[in-house]
Amino acid sequence: MQGDHNPSNLRSEIDRLISEGLVAPASQRLCELWRRDAGSATAAFVVARLDQVREKLALPKFKLAILRSFTVDPIVPLLRAEALSYGIDVSVHVGDFNAYAQEILDRDSGLYRFEPDAVALAVRAAEIAPDLWSHFAELSAETANQAAERVVRSFEQWIAAFRARSSAALVIHNLELPSMPNLGVLDGQLENGQSDLFRQINREVTRIAAAYRGVYVLDYAALVARHGSERWHDERKWQMARLPIAADHLLSMAREWMRFVVPLSGHIAKALVVDLDNTLWGGVIGEDGMTGIKVGAEYPGAAYQALQRALLDLSRKGILLAVCSKNNLDDAMEALDQHPGMLIRSKDFAALRINWTDKAQNLREIAEELNIGIDSLAFVDDNRFEREQVRAALREVNVIDLPHDPMGYAAAIRNCPLFERLSLSAEDRQRTTMYAEQRQRTGAEQNFQSKEDFFRFLEQEVEIAPVSDATLARVAQLTQKTNQFNMTTRRYTEQQIADMSSAPEWEILSIKVKDRFGDHGLVGVAIAHQQGERCEVDTFLMSCRVIGRTIETAFLAALGERAAARGCKQLVGRFVPTKKNAPARDFYAQHGFSQHEANGDGAFWTLDLADASLRCPEWIKLVSPGGGKN
């Protein structure tokens, strides 16, 4: 925002709130200040206040280490302020200038002592491949190819060395392409030309990263290209302070990191709720009618088609879509299903709330219907008033601001880190279908006298199996994003799951569920740690979609049986309360466990396996992996 630096007296209000110890409202105002005036000066203000209140605020924390070949320090406050606006308290370790290789190799380096959740390897083409970058014209074809290979091998060695020393996520910046190749347009004619070699290096780095768990590529080449190489760079700052990125793009760099921090921290949106009038189409259907609203392949309707395409792309990544609109149902449904310019139809939405009720109430109902936490909802509306009202009424909902110009709507959605995913499971791809099946189930449940009758009718089949290569990514994903039915809320990376599963005293089980309406996929994880005759349940979690149908009992019974078979006498469970896991609170009590040390973090529950009545319910069919019946 150009112009007024101090928007209103927000800053003094924030300092007053902090001095009165009101940290939650102070943090809301900090986010508001950041939304209104995101930039370096505001970031300095926000971060200074965040540091005053962060212990009391107790937001989810995330530790990012940045290994770098250039100055990144001025970007750090921007990143932390941006992260705060997504409810994440990021702390940052910046590696020594150009010391990334030593830091990776030395097990005692500051990098590993920091115990990061993720590491960004921010190395630029000009530093890692100076010969290819600046003197390409002088090199023979052979020397140039060898130089490119050397760069690839370096990346490969760093990745391998890092993985051997840490299970944190690793985010590798790939290399930008020369904006002015040494040989001019001739470079475009050359196989193995300068640009081509950098492209080859990037392709190889992607290939190598894919072979490791938790190693990701940040497409720095695309980032620079998106903003324009000449605008992105500031040669004077490079000379002066080894800062290659221009002042007004430091925030773009911070935001690109956020696209990794958000999914890695598990703070993602699982559903996007959209408004209709002037958001999904131009105009107001109730007033302008079918012929009056703007949506189609041409201006001005194209902006809305572009947004719809972005929404459909989200649903292909497993993000649910829902509608929340103040409208007459018939008008809106006609436009949704009959308008020839629409790319998206009512069937693409997992929930619809088209009425005149206030939006906060509708959003609550949508979260309930979709069985996800209200903080997993994102909401987008062209109307600023509606957005602010939702923000005020439902602080947990992620409200996405739209720019004034509808042409920018699609980008606002595509650039939002809440919708980023770093890997896709089969469950993600089929999620919309699964929710359609869920609607049928809910309809069926209402026709039964007793719950047991309904459970029998459901014909549930479960497959319980130790974690395997095929299920590892999904198992880690569930530990990272399951908040509600989760006894301990311990988050694990793929690498940590892999390490545990190879240790004999650990057992990691997953559960897949099917019923007469369809396949739920892999929806639960249990991790058991054997300690002599005791078997401690480190993790027990299930997707809320399948809770309350006795699947959880079947899963716990299987865990107990397997522990008993290994000679354990006792199952030990813990319930670690969080803001969100109330649905799991009574789980152990309901299954015959007795409680010890009721108060505080030491609380635990035990079940003697010998005389326990814990059984798989008779209406659940156990299927062994591969499909055969047990």
Binding site: H5, A241, A246, A247, L251
Partner: protein, 81 residues
């Protein structure tokens, strides 16, 4: 808001002091946190806020807040010409 007023707001954010503690004569001698790191942050915040790029010579000359505002004003008027 005048350029000086805006610079005052930026300086107060960057140096962690209240706006009324920032006057035209405020300098690295009077503001404790104004070191070379914060000088770079001040420069970056100004460039971003005003949409300008400062030359190394100008950055060198920025010895107090009043001079900073003068340099920006000169820069802005030369851009608009």
């Amino acid at each position: 808001m005048s350029v000086f007023e805006q610079v005052r707001g930026i300086a107060s954010d960057i140096f962690g002091i209240t706006p009324d503690q920032v006057i035209a004569a405020s300098s690295p001698e009077t503001i404790e946190s104004w070191d070379s790191t914060q000088h770079l942050n001040l420069v970056l915040a100004i460039e971003e806020k005003f949409g300008i790029q400062l030359d190394p010579e100008e950055i060198e000359q920025m010895k107090n807040v009043g001079i900073v505002a003068d340099i920006i004003e000169k820069k802005l008027s030369s851009v608009s010409k």
